[in-house]
Every structure is written in structure tokens, then in C-alpha cells.
Symmetry: C2
Subunit: 508 residues, 2 copies
């Protein structure tokens, strides 16, 4: 059923001769299907189709877009076991995770369907005319949000469903009225093709114009760069590394007509644990965090990669507990041999910096692409002095920083780059002293969690998934939750318009 071809609109095409294969990381072998990188002509065809389709797609009723999104959800479910099998063989993730992530994907699609079934999401405002105002009459003015145009979505390596072909970026862009061209992630091209086939089926069943969706493949950066440079592409969604996201941001902002790039990139998600919290419940915190650090082999954007403590009597014991509990959890398979080798390299690099030491690490023989979880620690002054210690290690790793006192803790937070999340683990008696910590975190993160874990990103209106650079390229928008639709639209005002020519959302 998987052909290895690109969906250029509703048609499977493969006129190029560059191919790649996906890898089964658990078995450490290549999967059989060769996937064809889209040619420059195929990329252009997809964009031209998207541009033509935009003219009608942006005008159809919210109910019709909702029906399309719900049909995508239905068709993804209809792929059933075949999808779960391809997902697990391309990602090394267990079937339970595949089912959970599919559930999230379906939920996102249906949430956006519900959101756009009526016109309220457009922040419509109406200022009525005041014809007898002096010195000048006031005209009738109405404002709504309209879609930007064709959008490119770059699929994430770590969420083959929920942040890939039919993931949050695609669902929100299609909901807004923007055609979408997905650049599939090379690591899970088969999953991408299957999900794309579900979208195309849904589009055909609900009568959508050919071109509102394409799925394009390629391993290097050529295809992606060509897409972002295309004058008929009007925005970009991306989830991945800082270097990848920044490269696309640079291409997009250096175009003759710059376009917005919503790149959700690196984050080490600092967790501040007060001395009192450690005194009162060290073991419980260690258990919770060992689970959070190793969840999904640590391959989450919100993985807690940095734990900040102020040195107290029980700090050392806490770090020891955390390390033991982390190491005790069975090693898990990572997404790809490249991800595994990156993890080994980056965790060793951090642990070998001056003053850093490994407190606990899974030792002994381990299967090829499985990750040896690791906890390291370092004193605050060494951390402050060395930006290499601030870098993300993608995988089950966390660095515990032992600050000398409160002041050093604040200094450390202020010295961090932008982050998706910050977490505070504290006791009620700490509250009065937390204002500086909260202040510092607010300047650095997009979401602050109290006595919880940063992993687990709820899909709801109050979710902010995005933070100051380099957590994301545009901290003013979220990549998760219904507000993420706002990335793909812009306001237009209508002045003194006759009722029959107003958009539906603004009619009298």
C-alpha cells in the first residue's frame, strides 16, 4: 500500500531519482520501501495547485472545512492497524504510544472542526457608524481574520502523528482556510504517506478542491528551502532542531517578501526545586522526575533537561535518589540511529565539561538504538561560566545544578536562553519568597508549571506551547491548542461595506 511517492495534490508522483529509506530502530535495519525526493518541478506544481485551490478554499463555509477535518480524523482511524504498524516500525516507539498519539491527533482535528464550524474564532469586531459625530462623521468599520495563503508544514521527528502530516500545524492551517503542503520527515516517510492518503481521501469525499493538500518528501534541506523560497508560500510551521528552524527562518526573512516562520525548536525546560520541597518530599519528587525525564526516551520538547536546586542538607541525597530511580527505569528505543548517536555525543559532551560529573547512568550492554539514561550534576558557578552546559541534550538526560544560594539561582535563570516551560516545585511556606523566581521565569518561558512536570501538553485554549527564542521563533503564538490557528491569519477591516458584500462573519 505504501508507494514511496509524493502526493502532488491528489496525485501520487515520483519523477525524480533521489530516494531514501526509513529505518526500524528496534531491529536496527532499513525498511524496504524507497521514498522519492520531490523534484523542483513537483514542488512548484504542488505550490501552484495550492495557490489555485486557495481562491475557493478560503471562501467555503466553516461547516464545510469542519466536515473535511472530521473526515480526515475518520480516515486516519480507518487506517487502523496498518498505520500503527508503520508508525512503530519507523519510530521504535511502542504501539501504546502510537495509539495515544493517534488519539491526540484525532482530538486536535475534531477540536479545530468544532472551532471553525461557526465564525466566532475570527475575533470579529464591529464599530458602528456615527453619522452625526462632529467634527467628522464616523464610518461603519468591521474587522475579521482571513487566511494568509498556502502554508508549508515541516513534520517533527518526535511526533510522527500529532506534529506531522495531519498534526497540529496542518489541522490549524486547514481549519483557518490555508492550503497546506507538508514536508514529511524523512525518518517516517511511510507513516507520512499513509496519513496523507487519509487526508486526500477525506478531501475527495468532502468535495475539496485538488491542491489544498500535498505531501512532499526529501531527506536533505533542498526541498524544504525550495518550498520556503517560493513566492506563493505565505507562512511556515516547523518543529525540530534550532539549526533547522533557524535556517528556515533566515531563508524566510531574507525573501523579497518576508513570511512568518513558526518554528518550535530547542528547550531544556528548567525545573526549580526549593530546599524545603526537597526536605519534605525528596523521594516523591525523585520518583516523579525519573518518570518525566525518561518518558518516551526523553524525546519530548518539554523534557526536563535542567534541574535547579539551592544547596541544602538533603540536596546531595535527592540527586542520588533521582539518579538511582532514573537508571532503574528500563532503557527505551530512540527514534533513529542518528538520534541515538546525537544523544550519546551531547550527553557525554555536557558531562565532560569542567565541574560536571555523572551521578548515575545506565551501564553495561544495551541494544543498538536504546538510550542509556543519565543524570549529571554541576555547581552553579560552573554552570554560569559555561554556555555549553546550557545546551539541549535530546533524550533521557537531566543536569542538576547546585546553586549556592537564592541569588545565584536567579542569576542562573536570567542567564538561560528562552524556554518552552519552567517548573517550580515548592512548599506553601516558600510562596512568599518565590516572586523573584516567577519574575525571572516569566522573562524566559512560555508556560510555568507549579508542583508538576513539564511533559504532558494539554490541548486547550489556555495552553501556551512556545517561548522566547530559541524555544520558538515567534513567542507571540502557540503551536498547541486552539489559539494556534492565529498563526495562519491576518486581520482585514471593511469600511462602510454594503451588507451583501461583507464576509459571512461580519454581516449585519
Amino acid at each position: 500500500m505504501i508507494t514511496g511517492k509524493n502526493y502532488i495534490g491528489n496525485t501520487l508522483k515520483a519523477s525524480g531519482n533521489v530516494t531514501h529509506k526509513t529505518v526500524n530502530p528496534k531491529l536496527n535495519i532499513e525498511n524496504p520501501t524507497p521514498f522519492y525526493e520531490a523534484t523542483a518541478e513537483e514542488v512548484d506544481e504542488a505550490v501552484q495547485l495550492a495557490w489555485s485551490a486557495f481562491k475557493t478554499y478560503r471562501r467555503i463555509s466553516g461547516e464545510k472545512r469542519a466536515a473535511f477535518l472530521n473526515a480526515i480524523a475518520d480516515e486516519i482511524l480507518a487506517l487502523d492497524q496498518e498505520l500503527l504498524d508503520v508508525y512503530t516500525t519507523e519510530s521504535g516507539l511502542p504501539e501504546g504510544r502510537a495509539i495515544g498519539e493517534r488519539g491526540r491527533t484525532i482530538f486536535q482535528l475534531r477540536s479545530f472542526a468544532e472551532l471553525v464550524a461557526n465564525e466566532d474564532w475570527r475575533e470579529n469586531t464591529i464599530d458602528e457608524a456615527i453619522p452625526d459625530r462632529t467634527p467628522l462623521p464616523k464610518d461603519d468599520l468591521r474587522r475579521t481574520l482571513i487566511p494568509l495563503g498556502p502554508v508549508v508544514v515541516f513534520a517533527a521527528s518526535n511526533f510522527p502523528l500529532a506534529f506531522s502530516t495531519a498534526g497540529g500545524d496542518t489541522a490549524s492551517a486547514l481549519a483557518s482556510g490555508c492550503p497546506v503542503i507538508v514536508k514529511a520527515h524523512a525518518m517516517h516517510s511511510g507513516t507520512a504517506e499513509l496519513v496523507a492518503s487519509a487526508i486526500i481521501k477525506a478531501a475527495e469525499k468532502t468535495g475539496m478542491t485538488n491542491g489544498i493538500f500535498s505531501n512532499i518528501m526529501g531527506r536533505g534541506r533542498t526541498v524544504g528551502t525550495t518550498l520556503v523560497k517560493h513566492t506563493k508560500i505565505k507562512a511556515v510551521g516547523f518543529t525540530g532542531s534550532i539549526s533547522g528552524g533557524r535556517a528556515l527562518f533566515d531563508v524566510a526573512s531574507q525573501r523579497e517578501e518576508p513570511i512568518p516562520v513558526f518554528a518550535e525548536m530547542g528547550s531544556i525546560n528548567p525545573v526549580i526545586i526549593t530546599s524545603k520541597a526537597i526536605e519534605n518530599r525528596s523521594e516523591a519528587i525523585a520518583t516523579t522526575y525519573a518518570g518525566s525525564i525518561t518518558l518516551g526516551a526523553g524525546q519530548f520538547c518539554t523534557n526536563p533537561g535542567l534541574i535547579l536546586t539551592v544547596e541544602g542538607d538533603k540536596t546531595q541525597q535527592f540527586i542520588k535518589d533521582l539518579a538511582e530511580k532514573t537508571v532503574a527505569i528500563n532503557p527505551q528505543c530512540m527514534l533513529h540511529p542518528n538520534i541515538k548517536s546525537g544523544f550519546v555525543e551531547n550527553s557525554n559532551s555536557v558531562s565532560s565539561q569542567t565541574g560536571a560529573k555523572v551521578v548515575g547512568k545506565v551501564e553495561g550492554a544495551i541494544e543498538a538504538n536504546y538510550a542509556a539514561s543519565q543524570i549529571a550534576s554541576v555547581m552553579g558557578k560552573d554552570f554560569l561560566a559555561n554556555p555549553k552546559l546550557h545546551q539541549e541534550v535530546f533524550g533521557p538526560f537531566s543536569l542538576v545544578v547546585r546553586a549556592e544560594n537564592e541569588d545565584e539561582l536567579i542569576q542562573i535563570i536570567n542567564g538561560l536562553e528562552g524556554q518552552l516551560t519552567g517548573t517550580i516545585i515548592a512548599e506553601e511556606e516558600d510562596y512568599a519568597n518565590l516572586h523573584d523566581v516567577i519574575d525571572a521565569l516569566e522573562n524566559r518561558v512560555g508556560r510555568i508549571i507549579f508542583n508538576g512536570v513539564p511533559t504532558g501538553v494539554e490541548v486547550c485554549p489556555s495552553m501556551q506551547h512556545g517561548g522566547p527564542y530559541p524555544a520558538s521563533t515567534d513567542s507571540r503564538f502557540t503551536a498547541v491548542g486552539t489559539n494556534s490557528i492565529k498563526r495562519w491569519v491576518r486581520p482585514v477591516s471593511y469600511q462602510s461595506f454594503p451588507n451583501e458584500l461583507l464576509p459571512t462573519a461580519l454581516k449585519r
Copy 2:
């Protein structure tokens, strides 16, 4: 009273030795006061002060920020005749305009004061916890908007009050909780200093921290570039030319931490007039548009620089009428000798392109910096073939394009760059045929006006002042109206927070 010095926070400083003078364009002479360009140290000092002040300023109550904004309005009014005199001697604009623009400035300040006096503007959302949800409980999540940090505002040449020192950008940024550093426009440095003195007085009277406002001078691009590159600057507002705005956008997006630039730049504001409208009310339209084209010597961002018609029996007569009525209006003084020479050069450049011809132009002797209004015309096919005809002529100039038919008209609109506004002049019998025109305009502009003029930008929630590039660098935001506050903020989510630590806006 005018010292020629920079306000570095509350203190007047001038340690540099580069100076410039402003010009009285009506008399065509230099005004006496030398203005000191800020040194690199002064610029840095202003930013460091702003950064320190941000810590407290972002936390004070909305009521206090409102009191500060209202005090600025009061202090500007207290400057009284002195301000009007400096304004007119530096801009060549009449006193009536100064009074009107001051009124708009005051209105903007008071509008933002009213907006932020309570916390509703922050788009607060609350998703309550569902502790017994399966399979996983849902945490309490709350989201609000917080200020980005110190902002640089580049003052506009064409609005010495309403889009300058205490104009819309400054008012909205201060309202949001961001400290502001204004880069004064060199053409009206005296007006800038006076208004800055009013802001400083208001800050002192209402107990604001030193550093929430600075006013910095300089003629070239050095000072501005230094400001935009500073790591503690978090956003930029700009009103001016495409080349100036793009240069700042490039600097900002190439920083290690890119920051948003809200540049409101060039626009020729196409006006589509149907043949039926010309048949029925040619003379009335010509009268209205002669007024709009010459308003304020044509020095408005929303000046109608392009009029699109479909050739009909009365088109030629309409163009002749428009030209006659435009030329009949008394020439007005432009803002500066450089603006005048730019106008002469650019209007001549457009009129001398292949197929273009001057239909009417003020002839004969004219005072030094006064503008000779001009109407030119060209056939649609020549316009389509020559991008030089699409360029903005800043001043009392409009190019009438005569399209062969509807299709060519649509092609012309689709071929335009992004614009602030588009206007449709049509009869009721045209309505059924306007869908393609509206469709094309929606993809090109931020505001569409029906049977009116684009000049006159209402300050209200439904106003969109901004459009696709190059009308502005970020079409998703407006530079006018209360929504312009959204440029200076970003969302933060609070998860499972104790009530006492939540920001005021989100408390239970």
C-alpha cells in the same frame, strides 16, 4: 526651552559632538537649535535604564499605567502654544493640522489609558482543572499576555505628534508595560524634545521609575541600528520608507535572538472606480478625490496614489475633471526640502515611463518647498508591464490606470504589492459583479473602503492599519487602534498555580 539634548531616562545629556538642525520648510531656512546625536554610550545607558525599569514597570497596576498615560496627555496639552509653534516651524504644516494631530495624540493616550485601567485587554483565558478525568487528570491552566521588554519606536516624518514621540506606538507600548526608547525623527527634533519633556514630567508626577522612557536623537542610521542590535531591546515600531523599514527588519531578524519589527512602510492605496460610478457621478468623485489626493500635501500613508478604472465612455472626462480639480487646489508646503525633492523626482519618474502621461499639473512659479500637485494616466497594459509605475510617490500625486476590461483590472490588482488600503467606488447595480475585485483586494490590503476615501484612519477596535508586505513587515498586527497593543506582548500560561502567586489578571 529646547536644549537640543537627548533624554537618557529623566536626564538631559549631550556628550557627543555630532549635531544637526531642523528646517523651517515654509521659510526654507534652518531653525537655530543644534541637536546632539546620542553617543553609543548614551544609547547603551538608555537601554540599560529601560531594562532595569522594566522589572518594576511591568508589575505595576493597570490603574497606575493609565494614570501615567493620562498625565502624558495633560502635560502635552500644557505645552500649549509653544508646542504648536515648534510643530509648525519644523514641519511646514498649518496650525490647524497641529491642533488636530495633537487632539488625535491625546485621544490615543486616553484610549490606551482606558483600555489598560483593568485587565480585560490581556485576552485572559481559564481552563479549570478536571481532577477525575480519565485516563489522565487535567490540570488548571490559565493564560494571559505579558509585555515583551524594552521597545524602540522610530518616529514618523509625516506625523510629528500622532506617530512620533508620544504617538500610537509609544502609547500602546507604554500601556502594555514595555519601557520605550524613541528614536526621534531628525526633521522634527525640537517637537520631539518638547513632547519628551512632557512624558518625563508625567513620569515624575506619577512616580514612574527612571528609564521607562528615553528620547534619542540622530540623523543617519547609526543610532537606530545600534538600538535595534542591542540584546536588551525586544521589539521595534517604525513608520516610514520601505528602505528604512526593511533595513531595520533585516538587522532585527539577523540578530542572534531575532526580535519583531512592526514597520509601517509604503503604500499606493489603489482605488477601483467602476464605469457605472463614473457614468452616474463623475464630478462628485473627482471633487472628493482631488481633496483626498492633496490632503496634507499628499503626505499620508493612506494617500490614494493609484486609481484603477475600466475604460468606458466617460473615463477620459473623469480623468480630466480629476486633474482640473486637483490642480485647482492651492499648493501646500511639504515637510522638508528632502521630501519636496523626492516628490519632484519620483513624480517625474512615474510620469516619464512608457505610456504614462501627465494629465494635469500645477504649473508656473511655486514657493521653495511647496508641492505642484499632479495627476498622470496610463493604459492598463503599460502599467502591468512596468513595475516602476507601481512605486509610491510620496506627495500630492495620483496615477489613473485605464484597464481595457474587468479581467485586466483583476490582473492589475493581483500584480500589486501589499497595500494598507484598497477602495471601491461603485453603484448598487455593480454589487453582483464585485466579488472578484473584493477577492483580489483581500489578498493585497489590510482595509477595504466602500464608496469613501482611504485618508482618514479612525482610532477604534475595528481599524486595521497594516497590510501585506511591503505595506507593513507584519500584516498580522495593526499600527492604529487599541489592537495595536498586541504588538508588544506575548502569552504565558500558568499551570496549577496557587492563587496568591497568579498575576492579578488570572486570580481566582
